[in-house]
């Protein structure tokens, strides 16, 4: 089962290597790993997806905590969350195919970000299934190049992670109002 971890780490040189090395050493298979800045300059945030059963997932979490630079680990797999991947897809789009490709892009709410005589580059954000879906329908036209960022994830609702909560003013603790919807 695919597990999604949100991992807060100290923003220091070499921390990414430590995390990656841990997964390699313990023979856990990373499906995707993204890392970026957060609202706090001294903290970076990783989203890591791993194929793991329940026990393995627990061990991954415990092992991540053993890294001195890891601040907080959340397994948000079974929590309501927003998961996004971004892809840029360069499709062969000759004159006749162009309008079909544009149509497909609009159905998937993707954007065209570059137009060239022989190709179109489409940018799409969404969960992985959505991107896989667009890719599937574009393949027959000829995918020349593709890049994906790997997923980033965030819990839904005003309940933020312990770490983020510590920084911001405490949000009122209302459970029922803890739902929000994204487009």
């Amino acid at each position: 089962m695919l597990n999604t971890f949100v991992v807060y780490v100290e923003n220091k040189p070499g921390v990414l290597t430590r995390v990656a090395s841990l997964f390699r050493r313990r023979a856990f298979n990373i499906d995707s790993l993204t890392v970026g800045r957060t609202e706090k300059p001294e903290v970076s945030r990783m989203t890591i997806t791993v194929d793991a059963d329940y026990d393995q997932a627990r061990r991954i979490e415990a092992n991540l905590y053993k890294l001195v630079n890891v601040l907080l680990v959340e397994n948000i797999t079974s929590e309501p969350s927003i998961v996004r991947d971004l892809a840029m897809i360069k499709v062969a789009a000759t004159h006749e195919a162009r309008s079909h490709v544009l149509e497909l892009a609009s159905v998937f709410r993707a954007r065209v970000v570059d137009v060239a005589p022989e190709s179109l580059t489409i940018e799409i954000t969404g969960d992985e299934d959505k991107i896989d879906g667009l890719l599937e329908v574009l393949r027959p036209y000829g995918v020349l190049e593709m890049v994906r960022t790997g997923i980033v994830a965030m819990r839904r609702g005003s309940k933020s992670s312990v770490l983020a909560a510590a920084a911001s003013t405490p949000a009122p603790d209302v459970d029922h109002g803890d739902a929000s919807y994204s487009v």
Binding site: V9, E10, G14, T17, R18, S21, R25, D55, R58, R59, A62, N63, Y65, K66, L67, V68, N69, V70, L71, L72
Partner: protein
């Protein structure tokens, strides 16, 4: 203003360090230059691996952090084996290495090795320091990380310019900043209740006593617990000494070369209480059949150990001593004499197979040497430091350890060459103790240059070489599992006694049982180090044995005398 080099020593002093084990070289020279202003005693080793094992031995006998120092490149890479050894056995050491100038990093400069990269998976944590102003905080953090929680090795790599440049030194301001590091966890009240419930209802419980007891300093608590609850105690190799061998509730060592009755008791148990042990594969045998009918309670400081090898019913994550303090007042005394009698019956069968009870055939067996050594030194404050192999297992079986930190041995990595340097570290940490090295003829030759360190430091370390002319433990595997195909295991050895003499160490050779006690006595009386070359039976075997992958109760046993006669015919 102080230089980074001066700050290194000042911080070590403030951390309570009195001795460091090291070897100089270009990238660490500024630090060595500043050593003259320090009260710290530097012990010059003969190989950096030796320095790490010494720091490790120092840490294991004292419970304090041991320190090793080396230069960049080859000096640092020579430390790798010692760091990995300390990592697997949770031993707190700090290794300080010099690094090329910060401007040269990444340029393949002379003696540049990415040692923080190399040691990433074998350290608890490591650091690269490129500014003098970072030295103090980093060293403080290194010590804190090494000794807290589950202890382990920490490496601090300091560039040459960070040693040479100066900055303000403010110890107070250089407090550790480790926002993510949480070494002190404790269980939930609900978990305690679940544990107590299992304990109260168990009919056939066994305590599995591990190294964590010694690390936690929970000997007294474990003893109280076992006595109050009437639960017998089995020990891991690294747990030996955590519970007195002579205690009526002591069963002995479990696992691959543990006593047959101990393993049998574990297999028949209905509750296992794992105290500071990590269910190593040498301890469990085949996991599918391991203690199949037992509930399991795991008291362990490292959450990553929970359900790693063996699935447990209750995990109490925290410091063992503190957890036992919580549990103890609630433990009810229960009569479990039926279970204890049952285990006693299992013991009988082993006694007739014991080599000590076999008729004297005139041969010198390693087991005899260990037994006699124990008999002679048991009343003293003795620390035995073993190497890895058959002699290590015989030591574990025949030397009865009453006190914690009286056996120092490489368990998890099984590092040959560990004993001699680790014993040096042990003696430096506890000069008042009587330190014995028990090592094989193979492993001794891996780090024997450290004999010179013993002499240079004038350390009274006793060395017992169990010389069987073989890489004995490997030969044993070849005997059992490779049709006695003794490839690459016979050893052509130097005359160890002459070798010892060449270093100026009083040395002797013993080949008869009757000579063992006199040799040990004369060594103890001698005012200086002594080496004894015990020429023992060459093709002797460590019994019993659980073959790799076999079930814990499925042991290869020493043929009993009766069986032996039948074989002879």
């Amino acid at each position: 203003m102080k230089t980074g080099a001066q700050i290194i020593w000042e911080c070590l002093e403030r951390e309570g360090v009195k001795h460091v084990f090291g070897y100089p070289g270009g990238a660490i020279l500024p630090a060595y230059d500043a050593l003259k202003h320090s009260k710290i005693h530097h012990i010059l080793v003969r190989h950096e691996q030796g320095a790490t094992h010494m720091a490790d031995g120092y840490a294991r006998v004292s419970g304090d952090v041991g320190v090793a120092v080396a230069t960049s490149g080859p000096g640092a890479t020579n430390m790798v084996t010692g760091i990995a050894t300390a990592m697997l056995d949770s031993s707190p050491i700090v290794c300080i290495t010099g690094q090329v100038g910060s401007k040269l990093i990444g340029s393949d400069a002379f003696q540049e090795t990415d040692i923080t990269g190399v040691t990433l998976p074998i350290t608890k944590h490591n650091y690269l320091v490129t500014h003098a102003s970072e030295v103090a905080r980093t060293i403080r953090e290194a010590f804190y990380v090494a000794r807290s929680g589950r202890p382990g090795p920490v490496l601090v790599d300091i560039t040459k310019d960070a040693q040479q440049t100066s900055c303000e030194f403010d110890w107070e301001a250089a407090k550790p900043q480790l926002p993510g590091y949480r070494p002190d966890l404790s269980p939930e009240p609900k978990e305690y209740e679940q544990a107590l419930d299992l304990i109260q209802n168990a009919k056939r419980p066994v305590i599995l006593a591990g190294h964590g007891i010694i690390i936690s300093g929970a000997m007294r608590e474990v003893r109280d617990f076992a006595e109050r609850a009437g639960i017998p105690v089995a020990l891991t190799l690294l747990g030996l000494g955590a519970f007195p061998a002579s205690h009526p509730l002591n069963l002995g060592m479990m696992g691959m070369h543990g006593e047959a009755w101990v393993n049998q008791a574990i297999q028949e148990a209905d509750l296992l209480l794992a105290f500071g042990m990590r269910f190593d594969d040498r301890v469990t045998g085949n996991l599918k059949t391991y203690a199949a009918n037992a509930k399991k309670i795991h008291v362990e400081i490292d959450p990553a150990e929970i359900n790693k090898n063996v699935k447990v019913d209750v995990a109490l994550v925290g410091d063992l001593r503190e957890v036992l303090h919580e549990l103890l007042p609630k433990i009810e005394t229960i009569d479990r004499s039926e279970w204890l009698d049952n285990i006693d019956r299992l013991k009988g069968d082993s006694a007739v197979r014991d080599i000590q009870n076999l008729p004297d055939s005139g041969h010198l067996y390693a087991a005899h040497v260990i037994h006699d050594l124990w008999h002679e030194t048991r009343d003293a404050d003795t620390v035995v430091v073993t190497d890895v192999g058959q002699h290590q297992m015989w030591e574990a079986q025949y030397y009865k350890h009453e006190r914690p930190r009286s056996l120092i041995t490489s368990g998890g990595l099984g590092t040959m060459g560990f004993a001699l340097p680790a014993a040096i570290g042990a003696k430096v940490a506890r000069p008042e103790a009587e330190v014995w090295v028990v090592c094989g003829d193979g492993g001794f030759q891996m780090t024997m240059p450290e004999l010179a360190t013993i002499v240079q430091e004038n350390l009274k370390v006793h060395i017992a070489i169990i010389n069987n002319g073989y890489l004995g433990m490997v030969r044993q595997w070849q005997e059992f599992f490779y049709e006695k195909n003794y490839q690459a295991t016979p050893l052509l050895n130097p005359d160890f006694a002459k070798l010892g003499e060449a270093y100026g160490i009083r040395s002797m050779t013993v080949s008869k049982r009757s000579q063992v006690v006199p040799a040990v006595r004369s060594a103890r009386q001698h005012d200086g180090p002594v080496l004894i070359n015990f020429r023992v039976e060459q093709e002797d075997t460590v019994y019993p044995m659980v073959a790799a992958g076999a079930s814990l109760h499925d042991m290869i046993r020493r043929p009993s005398p009766l069986v032996e006669t039948a074989d002879d015919e």
